[in-house]
Symmetry: C2
Subunit: 441 residues, 2 copies
């Protein structure tokens, strides 16, 4: 009987590890990213592991004609690692020979191995399976993976438990026009717009929970800010004193995640010339205050007294940036009429809620707040809104049998990544975006 | 302008941290889990943070009548930490006073604060929002979170990049009877059964990728092994020499994850009396060999020559356990006719594939294998199967423009958790299961 052992060997090196091979011969697996023919020799950029490694071809030491090695070929390079002061890494790999593992059958329809992919966003997205191979595109989603890693590290250190909640949900619950409906064995079901109910329920179980998972919005918006499926970073926390606890938590999470990124993703950040904010505190304004500030500063007439126009979010961030040099601003106490039924109303003014949004460089990236924990208060609010209680029975079970005061937030991962990297369109920070016109690739 | 600082205070302690308060008074937030009235005093089990903390009420030092504090009440306890040799933690918390934060409006319909919840599985699941509050139920999903943590740690250390791929996909691609269909702005779309295409595409980008995310199967099976939405741990790796590399990787991942669990989740494992396997190697048999071994050992006639019956998976695991004391077994080289079109056929015998399943204690928990990386080989196989190539254009883009040899696997998180903890029904290891009859809570 064959036995599979656990001696999995990595055979996958970074520049530092390679440096220890100076003076030695090595074999390296990778894909040919770019061939730059110079006079008398050629640079061959090999993507190997997480590295774009500069190798050298020359008839002096290479035992094959240059024409045999091609772009997008997967190969095993047999080479020698030579000390070379002029190289950024301090060494170079001279290719002695190579073995082909697989090769492309066609030239790329888009040039992907220049610094930037010079094409319209539609083409970039149509050819996503190959445009993602560009060095900068790779860096974007490396950083996105790093953001999740940073968030998880913070949340785990702060005793949040990761949960997995269902995405197919009973259609009685949220409803509305913006849900994707599906047939679930003859019953109508829908795709969840947020894990809201489940995370509140789970705050009654573990006190602190989080989930990083897809959510679905059937909104017909065709804007640079909207996609119809996105990754939501959701958390919920019990025993808060007010929603400001959640704001503090988020401030700390962002601060530490930025520090984490700068430590572990510095190369990718540098490549993308990312301007990573340094934060110690974030200003907070209430909604009305913010509205008036924008109106006054820019002599704009307020037309919508209940919500921001996208332009106003941008202007508010400009004001805050000028006044405080902060790239973020919390807006608090949104109107009750504009917030969901589970939002806690303020004691001082029941017209507004104990809620907040976080804006980052002109865009809302987080919505959060304190939730109603009292069963009777929740039922009363639902009844005032003319809602039926019965479809919410399993959700309200949490309240009925005791829930601590709690609150939480949801952060859009793609929006956050886009704003961190300075993109105007959220699609640049979405691996395979879904929008009203796009269902592929 | 208000400033939110990042001084988020944890106010959340474990037993070790509390021990440093011996001789002092403290305030603790938590939920009353159980009140045990003894003669002359009472034990009050407070769920605080991740801890079920034994506190003591006595008229001697408590300044309120016992009847005022109730089960499922969220409270701030004001107490003193006293050295107490007879307590498991070495101390006890004497309750001086308490403040109520919220309370249940009704008694629980199910008793949740005994060691086990003594009820049928249907009731357990109907009342999930509250039955999850039981100490053992909490331990199950703590361990599940720990499994994900362990997997991610391993994958990150081995240079896998986390990806987020869409769950709503173009209906031309996989299809079949087992998909949930939905209307996507007038186009037919479906919920993904696996991130297969995307992870292969991304193996052409980052070489090593993983995703832990929901997948959806519209199978009408009503069995203890099937749920219709589950969490899939998917990974894909480039530059493998054969699918055995993936088997090795998985063996190492399981070994290290078990070690991780024993280090960080020992209390939960002990509470559930979990039998955590110690593995250094896992036996592997090819499919035909395995079939014959079962048939011979148990004098069973082989009726299905292409697949296992569930009973055969159990019997095979029994044989392997007896022979090698291993709880796992790889079965390799499944028939090509039973594997998807992207599975690589064996050179030696094109009737079988370079694929494997991993069985754990009688149940298949993983399917994996090497994929076809050559464009022409893939197109030829699809044509032999009578498939249309055109709907797969964006997937095949990866092959066309060069993909390294690669393979991967998918592991069902809930099945894995269930088998680790000794459950016969996967639903016990699913937070909010979805099955043919269940869409709530």
């Amino acid at each position: 009987m064959l036995k599979i052992n656990s001696e999995f060997s990595l055979s996958y090196m970074n520049a530092n590890e390679l440096r220890s091979f100076i003076g030695k011969e090595i074999k390296l697996k990778g894909t040919v990213y770019k061939i730059r023919v110079m006079s008398g020799f050629a640079f061959i950029i090999l993507k190997t592991g997480n590295m774009f490694l500069q190798c050298v071809y020359s008839e002096e030491f290479s035992r094959f004609p240059l024409s045999e090695i091609k772009n997008n070929m997967s190969v095993i390079i047999h080479g020698s690692v030579i000390k070379e002061e002029r190289s950024r890494t301090g060494f170079e790999v001279r290719i002695i020979d190579f073995e082909m593992l697989s090769c492309a059958v066609s030239d790329m329809p888009v040039v992907i191995n220049n610094k930037e992919i010079d094409t319209a966003i539609e083409t970039l997205l149509d050819y996503r399976p190959i445009t993602l191979r560009n060095m900068k595109e790779q860096a974007i989603f490396k950083i996105q993976a790093g953001i999740c890693e940073g968030f998880r590290k913070f949340l785990s250190e702060n005793k949040f438990t990761e949960i997995h909640t269902p995405k197919i949900v009973f259609s009685g619950a949220e409803g509305g026009a913006n849900v994707f409906k599906l047939d679930y064995f003859g019953r109508e079901a829908y795709l969840t717009q947020s894990p809201q109910f489940y995370k509140q329920i789970m705050a009654g179980v573990y006190e602190r929970v989080y989930e990083i998972a897809p959510v679905f919005r059937a909104e017909k918006h065709d804007t640079s800010r909207h996609i119809n499926e996105y990754t939501s970073v959701d958390l919920e926390m019990g025993f808060i004193e007010s929603f400001y606890d959640i704001c503090c938590l988020e401030t700390k999470m962002l601060k530490e995640t930025f520090e984490f990124l700068k430590e572990y993703y510095n190369d990718e950040l540098a490549l993308l010339k990312a301007d990573v904010p340094v934060i110690s505190e974030i200003p907070a304004l209430n909604f009305t205050e913010a509205k008036e500030m924008i109106s006054k500063t820019y002599s704009r007439k307020i037309t919508d007294f209940e919500d921001f126009e996208p332009e106003e979010e941008k202007l508010l961030c400009e004001i805050i940036k000028k006044q405080t040099d902060c790239d973020f601003v919390f807006v608090t106490h949104y109107k009750s009429s504009k917030r969901p039924f589970y939002a806690m109303d303020s004691k001082e003014n029941p017209e507004v809620t104990e809620s907040f949004d976080l804006l980052f460089r002109g865009l809302e990236i987080t919505t959060g707040g304190q939730r109603i924990h009292s069963y009777q208060t929740q039922v009363d609010k639902m009844e005032r809104r003319g809602m039926h209680i019965e479809p919410f029975a399993s959700y309200l079970m949490a309240h009925k049998y005791g829930l601590p005061p709690h609150g939480g937030l949801g952060l859009g991962l793609e929006r956050f990544t886009a704003k961190l990297l300075g993109f105007q369109n959220v699609r640049y920070a979405t691996m395979f975006p879904r929008d009203i016109n796009r269902l592929e690739p």
